[in-house]
Amino acid sequence: MARRGTLAAYGGLAILFALLPLVLDPRGYEMRVLCLVLLFAALGQAWNLVGGLANQISLGHAAYFGIGAYASTILQQVAGLSPWIGTLAGMALAALLALLLSVPTFRLKGHYFALATLAAGEAMRVIANSWSDLTGGPVGISVPFNPGSSVWMMQFQTVRPNYYIFLVTLILVTALFWRIKTGAMGYRLRAIKENEQAAEVIGVDTYRVKLVASLLSAAITAFLGTLYAQFQFFFDPDTIFGLAAFSVKMALVAILGGVGTVAGPLIGAAFIIPMEELANSYFGNSAAGLSQFAYGIVLVAVILVNPYGIVALFARLRGGRRRDRASRGGEARP
């Protein structure tokens, strides 16, 4: 029964978000912010597959995101390829990188894993900056302009179609996350998270399970990179491979919302992205560095104060009320 209620809540939410653009200016600022909310919710969900379920806290997912963005954009520039096709190359490359990274990082835990992935993300940034022939270097890269609207080239007059692409992607990624979390793989990932040695001894192939989750997570993140490129039309290495802009933010979205939960990234993104927009408009762009600093602070604060995120906070409040009621009931008894 609880499950049907949850499903209804998600369905209602999806319908609400599907109707929202009808009342908003399709060229307006709110639409752009909502697109980012959906994008980051999906990024958080992809990150959650490994970071949340197996507690492999990656701070380098921007590597996959940037690879997706660059792959589809470069293939569009040089071959006129549709981003829907180009993104497949990006997804494959991102999965390949995840595979290569898995070799040195699978024995690493906690902070060591986080630092190793962080280094990988930074390495991609350096490569993109210096390999100018391919990427255009530090000045950035633009998606070739196609006049008119074209689903095939993922280019539109307004961001409304982008919004729906983000929304459908988010729904699919959330469904996939839920499926994995509640299935056999979810059991295995949780076992790894809670006691890796014990998981191995009772027959879980821990490397393989982590690898499969990483490959999925990387490929989805690369696909989202392509969606972002087609939404933004321009990006540079420091942004797309950026630590604060993507790597930390997507982790934060999942962690703040509730790590390893289905709702976590949705709540996290709905909270963080508008907050960030507010802060930027308040402090102005002169304080761009401030947001990086703020992320660091928020991340540390969340981990110290409430490592299980907003979802757990609500659960605890509800549980607390229930306990109160139970104890009151106890007092009433003779």
Binding site: Y187, R190, E194, E200, V201, I202, G203
Partner: protein, 263 residues
């Protein structure tokens, strides 16, 4: 005697200068219940860890059903039918008791069948009532039983139990003894049981192996072991009572005795 289910040849493991397991050659037949005793620090847990593949041996090898398993990863060894419970209890503490056990059952079954198998196993070890409780909320003896249930769900041919009876009351011990016996009699599962409680070991096992400072110093029927001079020496040297008289509520004393044995 059938061909051995498990065979170790000169199994040795060093930690720096310390030889935790020293040249142990042992074979165990299918369906045997073997006790493994020795003072704390004797290398019993390390020996188990070598068998299930948590550590590679420094030298020597392990054969299971005639095939060499040393050097393989633990999940491969578990699939072959050899697993253990952890002395210090290594449950998935945030997960429910049922989910812990389901994870073991997933080794050979899909999720639906694994759930059914897990429930049946919890029933069998007397934990059905706490199936939905978070493992971290259980008492130590209950956790140890969850360990047993989780391991059983991997369908082992040989199960290594590392002090699952520690901190149990005598009636609880009787339950475990009856459980191990019935699993062997009905399903042919073999066991190696590490336990400090001598009465329980004597009662449960048909054969006892003694480790001391990593070396195997005894292997025989319980009565023979209880009267073996080297074994008595190893225990008495550490301030132990004669093993066949030790027991009762003193399993916590093992630690103190072991430090004595080392000194």
């Amino acid at each position: 005697m059938t061909a051995p289910l498990l065979e170790t040849r000169n199994l040795t493991r060093r930690f720096g200068g310390l030889v935790a397991v020293n040249g142990v050659s042992l074979s165990v037949s299918a369906g045997e219940i073997v006790g493994l005793i020795g003072p704390n620090g004797a290398g019993k847990t390390t020996f188990f860890n070598l068998l299930v593949g948590l550590f590679p041996p420094s030298s020597g090898e392990v054969l299971f059903e005639g095939a060499r398993i040393s050097g393989r990863r633990p999940h491969v060894i578990a699939r072959a039918g050899l697993t253990k419970t952890f002395q210090n209890v290594a449950l998935f503490m945030e997960s429910s008791v049922l989910d812990n056990v389901v994870t073991g059952a997933l080794l050979h079954s899909d999720l639906g069948a694994a759930r059914a198998q897990a429930r049946a196993t919890l029933e069998r070890v007397g934990l059905a009532a706490v199936a939905e409780v978070r493992a971290g909320e259980l008492s130590f003896p209950e956790r140890a039983r969850v360990e047993v249930a989780r391991a059983l769900c991997t369908r082992p041919k040989l199960l290594l139990l590392d002090e699952v009876m520690a901190a149990l009351t005598p009636p609880e011990m009787e339950e475990i003894i009856a459980l191990v016996r019935s699993l062997r009699d009905e399903e042919g599962i073999g066991f190696i049981v590490v336990e400090h409680h001598m009465k329980a070991v004597m009662k449960l096992c048909e054969r006892i192996v003694v480790l001391n400072f990593g070396e195997m110093i005894g292997d025989g029927r319980p009565e023979a072991i209880a009267n073996d001079d080297r074994v008595i020496e190893a225990y008495l040297g550490g301030g132990f009572r004669r093993p066949d008289r030790a027991g009762g509520s003193d399993d916590a004393d093992g630690a103190g005795g072991a430090k004595g044995a080392r000194a």
